[in-house]
């Protein structure tokens, strides 16, 4: 592997740029990314934020929906290099915008500057999966009460009302479209707290779901509407 370790340091033939991103209230510096990299790739593969999903990478499914400066867009169509200095909110940060029940002061999280470098250290020779097992996020199929050691209600209360509604109404099957839909619906209800049925359909017409037939998703919107209005 000696030769390939050298080859590994190769950069892409195309241009690379430095990017400063502010995501979910935290700052990130990426010193050297390919100019063609989209925000979705950077979130998922460079910053450890895989919540936004990669279903089509052509803006035709909505699975990667994020908010950039408060505007709902497909992260796959945002060049990461053009996202510098803009406020990005992903599904991982959606609950953050709410007052944390554990911290009633509701203060903004302290910003941490993280210098991220990728693929610059020498490559480690691997001896077996045990060495890197800790770095693999495994599907978590456990019971909620086992996972978190807290009550189901406690877990829910730390989620955005749209996320809570998705859990409670059966709006989730495979779940691949869920993060994008959650972001899109949170955005909808933020602008229009009581949308008509047609307004809901139009607002999520850019988010494809192949499992649910949308029925339970419509139900989730109503549930979220009630939760946000405090009438649930």
């Amino acid at each position: 592997m000696d030769t390939s370790a050298n080859k590994d340091r190769a950069v892409l033939p195309e241009s690379t740029v430095r990017v400063d991103l502010r995501i979910n209230g935290r700052n990130y510096v990426l010193p050297d990314i390919w100019i063609g990299e989209n925000l979705l790739y950077v979130l998922r593969e460079r910053l450890g934020l895989p919540g936004s999903k990669n279903a089509c990478e052509q803006g035709e499914c909505g699975s990667c929906s994020v908010l950039v400066d408060g505007v709902l867009v497909c992260a796959c169509l945002v060049p990461a290099a053009d996202a510098s200095g803009r406020e990005i909110t992903t599904v991982e940060g959606l609950g953050r915008t709410l007052a944390d029940p554990a911290d009633s002061s509701g203060k903004h999280q302290e910003v941490q500057e993280e210098e991220l470098t990728q693929q610059e250290e020498g490559v480690q020779e691997l001896s077996g999966p045990a060495m890197i097992a800790s770095s693999i996020p495994m599907p978590q199929l456990q019971d909620i009460s086992v996972t978190d050691g807290m009550s189901f209600e406690g877990v829910l209360s730390r989620m955005h009302p749209v996320q809570q509604a998705f859990v409670m109404t059966g709006a989730i099957q495979c779940g691949f479209c869920t993060p994008g839909l959650v972001v899109a619906i949170a955005d909808l209800l933020n602008h229009n707290p009581h949308p008509s049925s047609l307004q809901v359909r139009e607002a999520i017409s850019g988010n494809l779901c192949r499992c649910t037939g949308y029925g339970r998703i419509f139900a989730a919107v109503r549930r979220a509407e009630e939760l946000l209005a405090g009438t649930a």
């Binding site: 790739y41 919540g51 693999i136």
Partner: protein
């Protein structure tokens, strides 16, 4: 022992508990009574209630790790080079330039494959990498690993392949007589089904030809996975799939490794619908990882996903129905040709289904059906939700409407008159048996109330956001269809599932390799464990292929029955042992005890010993292999008891059609379904709504277009699936609960049925609105407007 007639899959109770980890055989057992779940372990109402998915919270937060979310230190990116030609000789493959590119760690072709060159579910006829021939556009030729996905793409582009293209064989009818394009021939399977008096003639005869286009599963989570090599030459593959063990067997054979050195782990699956039954990237990923000795990740683009997995078989079907003047069916003749594409996949089983169910859920005394699945240079086709039953349902239900027309008879009445009963025979000669509430589902769906007229908002009319509709040009139509399908595997396949239950204190751990693809098996397994063991702390693990035996495929509407059954048996075996232990301690008979609220309780519910006291630190574990009733192969005339059980479904569709523009908006679908027993109402509703919408998609928009062997629309821009503005209101008119005597809990699989009769119901409604014959799906605007 108290009587337990209602728990059919109970294995013979051993008098002495087995040691932990002992595997015993469980499974089917004929039963005299209905199979509602009761008995000594029924401690709560969780079966039958809308338990929330255990993975819902993680999925809603974006924390659930799908196969495309995996990451490992030092990871490389894989990429596959595919053939642009549907039929070509490969003269040479030059990888030199790609090999030399900076950041490229491996470029592999057929010559690098240590084991079998070919794989396949039913026949090993599909190359991992094309060698001297490519037989479809999209066939893999080489695989690359590089440090960045863009580099991997550039390296794949840098491979030079010298092709000698030939004329592709793309017409399935021509394939029957054309020179073979593969050493195994062009006919995957021909079933010549003959039943009853094939000379019989009806007073009224209707004839028609029908076509179904190529539908794609179009799940949202693209094919992806991560392979991690070990220094001992073994490999771990984290993968989204429908069946870990059959993947493992195929991958190990191609890698030339013993199966135990290839460990497959289920990574989060973003939908499947049949497309993940065949392997797609598994061998390439493992090979790249073993060669580079580094973790390799691969994620298909949407375009690759459309090229890289099998599709629903396009079908051409000729039908002739014979009936008496009173509407009684006399005979059905049919010729069904399914285009299987370049390689076999599951074509043989799909054509068996299409042929067996060709006459629909009706009493048909005589039938002559010829079913062909053929090889062409089109993309390979295989499993998709409904598996052969979808195509023929469109044809036979179109025929039933046509027959009703010819008889001047109400189409519902015609269907009711011929509805099959448990004592009737299918055209395969098999007695339906079990439960068959066909008339019930027909009546319930037919009687469902009709929706309000459209509001007039253009968004709600055909054409939607394009605002091209004119309210007074929109015609409403209603249509109806009924369908059915087998549950579980057929034709003598020895189908089983394996599950392990371990109880440690008040925590149960269920290990079962059943692939959770979104359908909700993990919820059901938890419900079963909670109900059986009286505990609420339940962990569901899928294990890897070395940790647990096969659970079979998440397909054929089989996991609730098969793996649900396996989990039930494993939990019951653990419960038995605990009750025996408690009985010994308490000096009472075990039959007087049951499990509830984390305790062994008395018959009247008084806690006697906690599970904590009984099992903490000395866990009780049982493994079970669960089988269903054996079936027989079909004989040379397509006759035999080939299927385990059947489920039935009906849809009534209401559509608005802009006749001038040929645009359709499906307004409402009301459905009734034979479900045996409802295990989780919310999850069942999700299956019904989702499956129904896939049927709507096939009816009015979904088709992978293939021209001269080349897919024209491999993208979500042009392969259209319904959006929220296209989705009709889906109304469950009735869930018929007649427990299947063979099934655990009496529950029939429910996943596929909604996708079967929804398509013909929608087309029937469009015919009602337009008066057109419409013999092909999807119905395109030009079929109506220029029709």
């Amino acid at each position: 022992m108290p009587p337990m007639p209602s728990v059919p899959p109970m294995p013979p109770m051993p008098s002495v508990p087995l040691a932990p980890g002992t595997t015993r055989e469980g499974g089917w057992q004929e039963s005299s009574g209905p199979a509602g779940f009761s008995g000594p372990f029924a401690t709560s109402g969780l079966i039958g209630s809308s338990v929330i998915r255990p993975d819902a919270v993680d999925k809603a937060r974006g924390d659930f790790a799908f196969s495309s979310d995996l990451w490992a230190e030092g990871m490389l990116w894989g990429k596959v080079l595919r053939s642009p030609y549907p039929s070509a000789r490969i003269l040479s493959i030059d990888t030199a330039r790609a090999q030399q590119m900076s950041g490229v760690m491996a470029v592999l072709t057929w010559a690098d494959l240590p084991g079998d060159q070919v794989f396949g579910l039913e026949a090993k006829d599909q190359p991992v990498f094309a060698h001297d021939m490519v037989r479809y556009s999209g066939e893999p030729i080489a695989a690359v690993a590089a440090t960045h996905p863009e580099l991997a793409r550039q390296a794949a582009d840098a491979i030079v392949v010298d092709f000698e293209p030939g004329p592709p064989l793309v017409d399935p009818d021509e394939a029957l007589s054309a020179p073979a394009i593969h050493e195994e021939g062009n006919v995957f399977r021909h079933i010549a089904l003959r039943h009853g008096d094939i000379e019989a003639e009806g007073d009224v005869v209707v004839e028609g030809t029908y076509e179904v286009g190529m539908q794609d599963q179009a799940f949202m989570g693209p094919e992806s996975g991560l392979a991690i090599p070990s220094s001992d030459g073994s490999v771990d593959l984290y993968i989204s799939t429908q069946w870990l063990h059959v993947d493992r067997d195929q991958v190990a054979a191609c890698l030339g490794l013993p199966p135990e050195l290839v460990r497959l782990h289920l990574a989060g699956v973003g939908g499947a619908f049949g497309a993940r039954e065949d392997i797609t990237i598994q061998v390439q990923l493992c090979l790249l990882a073993l060669r580079t000795r580094r973790p390799v990740k691969m994620v298909f683009s949407r375009a690759e996903s459309f090229l890289g997995h099998v599709h629903r078989h396009p079908a051409r079907m000729w039908y002739r129905h014979h009936a008496r003047r009173d509407g009684t069916l006399v005979k059905v003749e049919a010729r069904i040709v399914l285009d299987g594409g370049a390689y076999m996949s599951s074509s043989a089983a799909v054509i068996a289904n299409a042929t067996c169910f060709a006459a629909g859920p009706y009493r048909v005394p005589s039938a002559a059906v010829d079913g062909f699945a053929v090889r062409t240079n089109n993309p390979p086709c295989g499993a998709m939700r409904g598996f052969g039953a979808v195509q023929v349902c469109f044809a036979y239900e179109s025929q039933m409407d046509r027959l009703a027309d010819a008889l001047q008879m109400d189409p519902i009445e015609l269907r009711l008159k011929n509805a099959i009963c448990p004592t009737d025979r299918l055209i395969t000669g098999q007695v339906v048996g079990g439960t068959a509430p066909v008339a019930e589902v027909i009546r319930a769906a037919a009687e469902a109330p009709l929706p309000e007229p459209a509001s007039g908002d253009l968004l709600e009319l055909p054409g939607g956001a394009g605002r091209c509709a004119e309210y007074d040009k929109v015609v409403r139509g209603t249509g109806f269809a009924v369908g059915f399908k087998n549950l579980l595997y057929s034709e003598g396949f020895d189908d089983f599932s394996t599950a392990r239950c371990r109880l440690d204190g008040d925590m149960a751990t269920i290990t079962c390799a059943a692939a959770e693809v979104g359908q909700g098996f993990v919820t059901l397994a938890r419900q079963v464990a909670t109900e059986t063991l009286g505990v609420t702390k339940v962990r569901i693990l899928s294990g890897d292929t070395n940790e647990i035996g096969s659970a079979g495929s998440t397909s054929a509407s089989r996991q609730s029955w098969m793996s649900g059954g396996a989990v039930l048996e494993a939990c019951k075996a653990v419960a038995d042992r605990i009750l025996s232990m408690a009985a010994d301690t308490l000096q009472v008979r075990p039959e007087t005890l049951r499990l509830s609220g984390g305790h062994v309780v008395s018959g009247d519910g008084i806690p006697l010993i906690s599970l904590d006291d009984l099992t903490r630190g000395k866990p009780v574990e049982e493994s079970v292999v669960f089988h269903h009733r054996p079936t027989d192969p079909l004989d040379s005339e397509g006759q035999g008891n080939a299927h385990v059980s059947f489920a039935f479904v009906a849809h009534k569709a209401v559509v608005d059609v802009d006749v001038e523009l040929g645009l359709v908006r499906v307004v409402q679908l009301s459905t009734a379904q034979d479900v045996g027993k409802v295990l989780n109402p919310l999850q069942l509703l999700g299956q019904i709504e989702g499956g129904t919408l896939q049927g709507v998609g096939l009816a009015v928009m979904e088709e992978l277009l293939v021209a001269d062997g080349i897919v024209q629309n491999p993208s979500f821009t042009d392969y259209l699936i319904p959006t929220a503005l296209d989705a009709p209101d889906i109304v469950v008119a009735r869930l018929v609960e007649e427990p299947d005597p063979l099934a655990p809990f009496g529950a029939k699989g429910a996943g596929e049925m909604p996708a079967i009769s929804s398509t013909p119901a929608v087309v029937s409604a469009i015919r009602d609105a337009t008066g057109l014959a419409l013999s092909r799906v999807p119905v395109r605007p030009q079929d109506i407007a220029n029709g």
